[in-house]
């Protein structure tokens, strides 16, 4: 079964994908994750609108990482986890029988806490997904440049595209990972603590990149850094003990949270 915006063959030939009828790109309904008898996530229902940057915050162990990994079926790579409920991408349940998880992950990309660059050149790192798609050389070249520009890295690496990616700084490597994810034109980008290992200047550059990208795609950013959620996102969701406690516009949530649990967390009572 194909995803709603999936086309065969060349990634670049994909027409701008349609949005589901209610304008939501990604949504969960009653989503739960269990590890044997232990509930990691319980009954999560949330919508992610197009062109938005949603921060997921909460204390350690609240399930925020598990939650984003469930959004592109990455949880399937962790044995012993069972998923219940539904995750809709453009109205299609990605856990429905016949949906190919590889196609899901192409549309819903992910960037991890530590930069995961491959031991190859800057250019080949970004071209990696395109090569798997057997894109012609001119298309690959075009997409690599476009992705590096979108990730805010192009000006810094354009004269050393053939240099090893591992020679880049930590911040540059993380933006390279973002460029690699963007190269296959995802509609949604998930970031799991993607700046927690970076210095403040690199973090600022990555956040600026995400802000730019959020005008085009849907971004979901997991962060333990409440200040980062406040400055970088336009919506924030607070998780606690595997449940979604509150979600709303970032300024609203940080200025006057509706739930006592949220207030206690953002004012540093715990977490």
């Amino acid at each position: 079964m194909a995803l709603p915006d999936e086309t065969r063959g060349a990634v670049r030939m994909s027409a701008p994908p349609p949005i589901s009828n209610d304008g939501t790109v990604l949504a969960t309904r009653g989503l739960g994750v269990r590890a044997r008898q232990h509930a990691i996530l319980t009954d999560i229902t949330i919508d992610f609108p197009p062109r938005s940057l949603t921060a997921i915050i909460g204390p350690s162990g609240c399930g925020k990482t598990t939650f984003v990994r469930t959004l592109n079926r990455m949880t399937e790579t962790s044995p012993g986890l069972s998923v219940s409920g539904e995750v809709f991408y453009l109205g299609q349940n990605i856990y429905a029988r016949g949906i190919n998880p590889v196609l899901v992950r192409r549309r819903i990309g992910m960037v991890f806490q530590r930069p995961t660059v491959f031991p190859m050149s800057v250019f080949e790192n970004v071209a990696f997904g395109l090569r798997l798609e057997h894109e012609p050389a001119d298309v690959v070249e075009e997409e690599v440049q476009r992705s590096l520009e979108r990730s805010g890295l192009w000006e810094e690496v354009k004269n050393r595209l053939d240099k090893p990616a591992l020679s880049l700084s930590g911040g540059q490597q993380q933006r390279l990972c973002i460029a690699r994810a963007l190269a296959v034109r995802p509609r949604v980008l998930l970031l799991d603590e993607a700046t927690s290992s970076l210095d403040p200047a690199s973090t600022q550059r990555v956040e600026a990149t995400l802000e730019e990208l959020s005008h085009e795609i849907t971004i979901i950013l997991v962060t333990h850094n409440v200040a980062q959620a406040a400055r970088a996102s336009d919506r924030t969701a607070y998780f606690y003990q595997g449940r979604l406690i509150e979600v709303g516009p970032t300024e609203e949530l940080f200025e006057r949270p509706k739930e006592k649990l949220t207030e206690e967390y953002i004012t540093g009572r715990f977490g």
Partner: protein
């Protein structure tokens, strides 16, 4: 939040100690400003020039309070990046000290009008000004109490008092006009009564602004969310000259 709009007592939050300390300094500044108003009026009423001078001299300390509490609030924001109620408290304190500075300055201005003859000798006018002083000072004291104790309900009770002060201000205006018609030679002295009434009216307004900021700090609600909107007074109405 409990039903009377105040925050229930809880164990200290992450920044409870710093917030309490910052608010404590703002309250201290408020008491200083209130003292300037109180003594400014006494000096004006009695014609007590040394007391008036002491009020004038207190202005420098008021300025220092303003700067110190502002610095403290800014440092708190920079160091803790407060959220939720802590953020609201810090921004409220920054606004409140501006209102308190203005209140203290009105005390200064009243003291500045003191003449050896004291207040204008007309019982009705003097009683009105005494009442305005009592009400305005009471409103500021209540606003400070509400701020210190996170009492949104107490803060809300201040708004009705403002209407009384406004009405008294209009009464002073009418009496002054009547006096001027009767005896134009008193213009200089009676003009000061009008200014003092105006200063009390402004002090009461600032007390309301402090109450608004207290409600915001405690509940997150802004004025438009709990007070009915009023149409602005029309130019040419009865209130002209003393809005």
């Amino acid at each position: 939040m409990n039903e009377n709009g105040s925050r229930p007592a809880a164990e200290p939050r992450g920044h409870d100690v710093e917030v309490k300390q910052m608010k404590g300094h703002a309250i201290e500044m408020g008491q200083w400003a209130l003292g300037m108003v109180h003594d400014g009026w006494l000096a004006f009423e009695r014609g007590d020039l040394p007391l008036a001078q002491s009020v004038i001299d207190r202005d420098a300390r008021l300025d220092r309070f303003d700067q110190d509490v502002e610095r403290e609030a800014v440092a708190f924001i920079v160091k803790t990046q407060p959220m939720g109620p802590d953020l609201r408290e810090a921004t409220a304190v920054l606004k409140v000290i501006t209102y308190l500075d203005r209140i203290g300055r009105y005390g200064f201005d009243i003291a500045w009008l003191t003449s050896p003859e004291g207040a204008y000798d007309k019982d009705e006018l003097r009683e009105l000004l005494r009442s305005m002083d009592g009400l305005a000072e009471g409103m500021v004291a209540k606003a400070l109490d509400a701020l210190a104790n996170d009492r949104g309900d107490l803060a809300r009770s201040i708004f009705d008092l403002d209407d009384q002060v406004d009405e008294m201000n209009r009464s002073v205006y009418r009496i002054v006009i009547q006096e001027l018609r009767t005896d134009p030679s008193v213009t200089q002295r009676i003009a000061n009564e009008l200014l003092v009434a105006r200063h009390f009216e402004r002090i009461a307004d600032h007390a309301c602004k402090i109450a608004e900021k207290t409600i915001y700090a405690v509940t997150g609600q802004r004025r438009g969310e709990y007070l009915p909107k009023r149409a602005p007074p029309s130019v040419g109405s009865d209130s002209r000259g003393a809005p």
